[in-house]
């Protein structure tokens, strides 16, 4: 009765099913595994593959800018660098995707460190506006060496991840879930075995106090840039191999702003927020292709109205509705409970103060 399986089930029940937000996330991710069984439509699968890839991309922006507060307006740098690296390695050296994507991600880490160097000296808005420059400088490099980078047309003919689209779907899904879990754990302020979450929060809230408390903020800021660069690079490599093209559009201004839009829409500094944002906004954007001339307009208006009425983001708003934190033991409870599930303390003040 008290076997490993049972204990695993109990902890699963306690850690996932008892917290409504996590339960929703769990069942949502579970349901994503059944998408290819429900529909074999290659167009629908294509949208979901892109959503998986962009979920990694958006979450990596959140890790850097949402958690550490190092506002990065040029996130496409990492995505594009990895996409181009993967493409060049694949086309010139014939390396398979298994090799090009990790190498691309490592090159993106390097890009993260290079972008991170100004971050050591610049703060706040200065940093935000400087990061914006990097994708544009890279676009310039792409145009300046057309023989090497393909110029305006980009590099095409990159070998696909797999011949079967269902296979690509599952691959992107597994990579997405793994990346999301790693990023979520790395940024979890309550985690007991990695300190990064707590430190990232501290850097965002007050960098000077963090430094006064003995945290080497330089090191952790560079770490955040590298981790973020790595995951954005994974997304970039996957995308290059999926669509078979790495072009200058990977460095476009709007492409840098996409993860920010998804993240703010979903809820900043949460990791699950940007992922929610992608799975809502990206398919929405695709379905608006039925009215191509109004597509961008409708999209922008939706973003505006969501921001006006929920400036804190969708998931943050929902989470506050369905979850309540125990005032005594700080454990998260479902909002319908009246007493904490662990310490039995009343969750709300009854009577005239409620």
């Amino acid at each position: 009765m008290e076997g490993h399986a049972w204990r695993l089930y109990k902890s699963f029940q306690g850690e996932i099913l008892a917290i409504p937000g996590r339960a929703i996330a769990f069942f949502f991710l579970l349901s994503l595994f059944f998408v290819p069984l429900v529909t074999g439509n290659p167009y629908v699968l294509r949208i979901f593959i892109f959503a998986n890839i962009f979920a990694i991309y958006a979450a990596s922006w959140d890790l850097l800018s949402g958690f550490t507060g190092q506002m990065n307006l040029g996130h496409a740098t990492f995505f594009g660098v990895a996409a181009y690296t993967a493409a060049l390695l694949n086309l010139n050296l014939g390396l398979p995707p298994e090799a090009t994507i990790p190498i691309g991600a490592l090159v993106a880490v390097l890009a993260g460190l290079i972008v991170g160097i100004p971050a050591l000296r610049l703060r706040g808005h200065y940093l935000a506006l400087v990061t914006l420059a990097f994708p544009i400088i890279l676009t310039g490099i792409v145009f300046a060496f057309p023989d090497f980078t393909g110029g305006e047309l980009g590099l095409y003919g990159i070998s696909p991840l797999s011949d079967s689209r269902v296979c690509v779907y599952y691959l992107s899904l597994v990579v997405m879930i793994a990346s999301a879990l790693i990023m979520w754990k790395l940024t979890d302020a309550k985690s007991t075995f990695v300190r990064t979450g707590l430190i990232f929060h501290a850097i965002r809230e007050d960098e000077i106090t963090a430094r006064a408390s003995g945290i080497n903020t330089t090191k952790y800021k560079l770490l955040a840039f590298s981790i973020s660069g790595f995951f954005a690079g994974v997304a970039g490599g996957l995308s290059a191999h999926f669509i078979g093209i790495a072009g200058p559009s990977n460095f476009a201004l709007l492409f840098s702003f996409q993860p920010i839009i998804w993240t703010i829409f979903g809820g900043i500094a949460t990791i699950y927020g940007p992922i929610t944002g992608v799975y809502i906004l990206f398919p929405l954007m695709e379905s608006l292709r039925v009215v191509p001339e109004l597509r961008m307009l409708i999209f922008a208006l939706i973003v505006i109205f969501v921001l006006l009425f929920m400036p804190e983001g969708l998931t943050t708003r929902l989470r506050d509705k369905i979850e309540i934190e125990c005032p005594r033991c700080k454990l998260t409870n479902i909002a319908t409970r009246r007493y904490c599930r662990a310490c039995n303390a009343p969750l709300r003040l009854e009577g005239r103060y409620s």
Binding site: L122, R123, L129, V130, G140
Partner: protein, 290 residues
């Protein structure tokens, strides 16, 4: 060649300076990073196209119409959208970007995506340093210089300007001194948009009009503002000319120049910031709390 670089760079620098001043003004006073700033420039240019080309108005009424109309749109956007979320910094960023996209898409629906050109306000040209300079370019440069001077007088001499600078320096104290901070923010927004509108109206006959024409100047003025030092008027003007001349030099001297002009200008900006993180004329607060 050298003279052409000199003259083109001066004109471009003037336009960047005017745009960047408005941007840094609204940032300094209301702490809003308004990514829709150059969208107003685009709107004003389209307004000139409509009034001068389609309605056939003469130069001065069409400029006045376009500046007033754009400023009203700016005030409306500020009141309806930006003011409500002013406290959330990243939200403002995305909101203004979305607003710029809305303006872009509206222009796309109204005028189509192809390149348009507005008629010149004045015809003819003069010889200057052996280079033919059209009167339109001279007019643009003159108006830009006059506006820059006007804004300097407004900010340093008038009561409104002093109030605006007080709010930029310290919100709370300005409030205690009886300055209506909310109204000053609105006034600043109006002034900033009007400056963007003037530059948009003046470049309409020179540049090609297209719905995406706001993006490139936006990047450049962000670079100008950062390079000059956030909140420094002198710095913004100096940086505008530095970046404009870099751009013009690249266009004239490098074979694929027009593709990489932005990249080179931004690389210059990054290089300067690595040496002077607070920008050329910015004040360094070593451990400033942001």
């Amino acid at each position: 060649m050298f003279e052409a670089i000199l003259i083109n760079g001066a004109m471009l620098g003037g336009i960047y300076a005017l745009l960047a001043l408005g941007f840094s003004l609204i940032f300094g006073v209301a702490k809003i990073i308004n990514l829709a700033h150059t969208a107003f420039y685009m709107l004003a240019a389209y307004a000139i196209f409509t009034s001068a080309h389609l309605l056939g108005l003469s130069a001065i009424p069409s400029i006045a119409l376009s500046v007033v109309l754009t400023t009203l749109i700016g005030i409306g956007t500020y009141k309806l959208f930006i003011e409500r979320v002013r406290e959330h910094e990243t939200t403002v960023l995305i909101l203004t970007l979305a607003l710029a996209l809305v303006f872009q898409e509206c222009m796309l629906l109204a005028f189509g995506g192809h390149f348009l050109g507005a008629p010149s306000f004045v015809s003819g040209y003069v010889e200057l340093l052996g280079v033919r300079v059209s009167n339109q370019h001279l007019l643009t440069f003159g108006v830009v210089l006059a506006s820059l001077f006007g804004i300097w007088v407004l900010l340093s001499k008038s009561k409104l300007g002093i109030a605006i600078r007080a709010v930029a320096q310290d919100r709370e104290i300005a409030n205690l001194m009886g300055i209506n901070v909310g109204r000053m923010c609105l006034m600043t927004m109006a002034i900033a948009v009007a400056m963007a509108a003037i530059s948009g109206a003046m470049v309409a006959p020179i540049f090609v009009l297209e719905p995406r024409m706001w993006m490139y100047p936006l990047i450049m003025i962000l670079a100008v503002v950062v390079l000059g030092g956030l909140g420094s008027i002198k710095g913004s003007v100096a940086a505008a000319f530095i970046l404009a001349y870099t751009e013009t030099l690249v266009v004239f001297l490098v074979p694929v120049g027009s593709f990489i002009k932005g990249a080179v200008a931004l690389a210059v900006m990054v290089a300067v910031l690595l040496i002077r993180p607070e920008g050329l004329f910015g004040v360094a607060f070593e451990e400033e709390r942001l």
